[in-house]
Symmetry: C2
């Protein structure tokens, strides 16, 4: 049985920011759409948005390209990096 992932408080705001960027697209993207664009599994996208996945730098680059933003914009949100 797959290990149940716990959300990491330091990652939750990042996840919310990714979800907000996804929904602000025109037209808004579903997690499935984003998953296809950045070739990451939809459940992995869901895990990122719920603060349960400690995403790697290359996957940050993939997300940024798919969302049409600069990588630094993905980390541009209040409380970024606070423990």
């Amino acid at each position: 049985m797959a290990r149940k992932l716990e959300s990491n408080p330091a990652l939750v705001p990042f996840g919310r920011h990714v979800a907000a960027l996804r929904k602000q697209m025109n037209p808004p993207l579903s997690q499935e759409d984003l998953s296809g664009l950045c070739e990451l599994d939809r459940t992995y996208i869901s895990g990122i948005e719920n603060g349960k996945r400690n995403v790697s730098l290359t996957n940050i680059f993939r997300l940024a390209r798919a969302l049409g933003v600069e990588p630094k914009d993905l980390l541009d949100y209040p409380s970024a990096g606070e423990p």
Copy 2:
């Protein structure tokens, strides 16, 4: 024997940026200093700076705190995210 790490072209510019930020500190930090500040092994820091480590988001946060910058500043360099 430890697997020899290859550098990832997408990670090399990030590594150079981290090394530049480290050396711009006042006083400049050694890799050993930075390693102590963010509680990451010195060889891991060296691997990051040589584009051989696909650093995770929580470690990006650690590096940013240790270098006294915002996480988004760590991704603010030319060609960030280009394949």
